[in-house]
Symmetry: C2
Subunit: 338 residues, 2 copies
DNA sequence: AATATTTGCTAAAACGATTTAGTTAAATTA
DNA sequence: TAATTTAACTAAATCGTTTTAGCAAATATT
């Protein structure tokens, strides 16, 4: 029982496949196909459950109805939550998602972009690592719709959805200062990415407003969690005067909590805590951790809306937009005054 | 600057596209193409960076080099971790992943399977919801490689990777009993899925071994977390005699912890805890939560290995295998004797 | 020297759709 | 009545590959 093709349909009904194609693509009226024939074809197609071969269709039309989604790491709750929401909206609009994790690895990302291009994805959603500017510009030059999120690239001008990183950390650091903390450290992953730089800068700005000295630990990312825990432990052991720590991402924050547990540090009496990102781990820690919550639904929503717009309007002259969303600051016991 | 096709290459070198195709597919020797010509073609292809159009290739060969991955919910850490590992292995073997979340919704899953079939995925990896037997059997009848995981389907005989659910909960419940707990509840999602039924049965078996009475709460799953917290809170408030609770999944466990925090229940003195699945939330809770850790790497590894095997060997006569993996039981303070 | 084999390459048919450029017959208009 | 328009449909080209079947020249065999 081989799969039916449009030719089989046409033969069986004694019409040309052209006619069938027109009918199936809703161009019957425009092409003045007779009502009665239209119905006959529709009926038979429904009856046998014929579905056009999407590969052949893509080959001919150049559209694949696929969106390429590149996140840093799909197993990171921030990205998986966004992926989930994007997935829903995409499927509802007839698009499939091919995804991958970049690991912030430029070379890997280059390969993946090639793979996506190869696969003729119609549009790209990318949380870009550094050093990928040229590849993305090349996509743009070919007229490909690209939406960046979570971070942007200095020399790439395309649509981008971000949050107000600098204000978020500035504001949260101010909060720590208002609570009476004076020796506030910032622990983050070593990264030149715009969002990470902005977060660091927000922290620095707040401290310099008050004339306090910054203390920054930048960890080299590693898949092996022990290699993240160790430097944090060292840092905390060395800097005994610290009275508060700001974690730059959910991952750093989670690792930080593990270290704090291991070292038996009391929160917030020994050390106050604030973390970027918010999720169950922070809500359920004792005491619950003050966190900057990214508006995940809004991010996903804006990303997919912008992309679908670009996909639907063929007008290339729409100027690219940069959307900056606000975060929520969830103050919890981990940063209360002492 | 249009994209080059194999015809352009052929024309430019004054050879036939057949020849180019043979060379590019490593069939030069077999087809006795002259060494010198092979080199000339290779060189030019590299020079201009020609990449064959994968759509056309797929159309002709019937292979899409794509694997369809259907999980329950990509934003669940268990599934996203597995997805991540599968993704890595798949990409390394030249396969792309199209994924989707089924939400355990049979109808949605049917549609998604159709979509995948439509897209000509070469193989399927599915954590199947109930009621999808016919659709999967229909895939199998068409000769499609399908690997199930996390759960199986009663009347579907295909490869499947699972864990020993029944023993895991039996063993963990025994542990609670040994610690002196007598009124042990099991809180889970209402589900007829094999893994959930097995987990429940393991719990029941252990209790009946000791002659204790089971107390089971089955919650109807809902996206809205409040509708999960409420029944748990009610259940705990009503059953004051409980001295231990067993959570059937990471999601239930996390919700359970929230309720326990909200109600100010002391762990383990008021209530001992054990949860299925293990992740940061459980490790970082105070006290840390005893948990059954699924061997995520092993699951992913087995799944993808089995699937790649089926994809590479055209032999249809390989009998399907059912792989059962062991779990780790991580005993922590939440279930210590009192 | 005649025949068979090997070497090196290619024309053309497929895969399954969309789309361009017609064709034919009927209806309208001049 | 002849010329034009319209209605209803279709043949064939196209997208970019792979693959089957086969050709011509060179070499080997009898």
């Amino acid at each position: 029982m081989k799969k039916l093709s449009i030719v089989d349909i046409a033969n069986h009904l004694n019409v040309s496949k052209t006619t069938v194609s027109f009918i199936l693509n809703g161009r019957a009226q425009e092409k003045r196909i007779g009502k009665e024939l239209v119905e006959r074809v529709q009926k038979f197609v429904d009856e046998v459950g014929y579905k056009p071969n999407s590969l052949a269709k893509s080959l001919r039309t150049g559209k694949s109805n696929t969106i390429g989604l590149m996140v840093e790491d799909i197993s990171n709750p921030f990205f998986s939550a966004i992926a989930r929401l994007i997935e829903d909206r995409a499927y509802k609009n007839g698009y499939k998602i091919i995804y991958c994790s970049t690991d912030n690895d430029t070379l890997k990302t280059k390969e993946l972009i090639n793979m996506f291009r190869d696969r003729h994805v119609d549009g790209y959603i990318i949380a870009p690592p550094e050093g990928i500017e040229d590849d993305i510009n090349s996509l743009l030059k070919q007229g490909m719709p690209v939406v960046l999120f979570d971070r942007h690239l200095p020399n790439v001008s395309t649509d981008c959805v971000e949050i107000d990183n600098l204000f978020s950390t500035y504001n949260a650091t101010k909060h720590l200062i208002q609570q009476g903390y004076k020796n506030i450290a910032f622990i983050t992953f070593a990264s030149g990415q715009t969002q990470m730089q902005a977060r660091l800068q927000g922290y620095r700005n707040a401290l310099s407003d008050s004339g306090y000295k910054p203390a920054v630990l930048e960890i080299v990312f590693n898949q092996n969690e022990d290699l993240i825990l160790a430097p944090i432990a060292n840092f905390l052991k060395k800097n005994k005067k610290l009275d508060a720590v700001f974690f730059g991402t959910n991952h750093v924050g989670t690792c930080g909590l593990k270290v704090i547990n291991n070292l038996g540090i009391k929160v917030p009496s020994d050390l106050a805590l604030v973390s970027f990102d918010d999720y169950d781990v922070f809500k359920l820690f004792s005491p619950p951790v003050t966190a900057i919550a990214q508006p995940i639904e809004a991010i996903a929503d804006n990303v997919i809306t912008v992309l679908l717009n670009k996909l639907n309007t063929s007008s290339r002259h729409i100027s690219s937009q940069s959307i900056i969303l606000k975060t929520d600051f969830n103050i919890r016991a981990s940063s209360k005054h002492r």
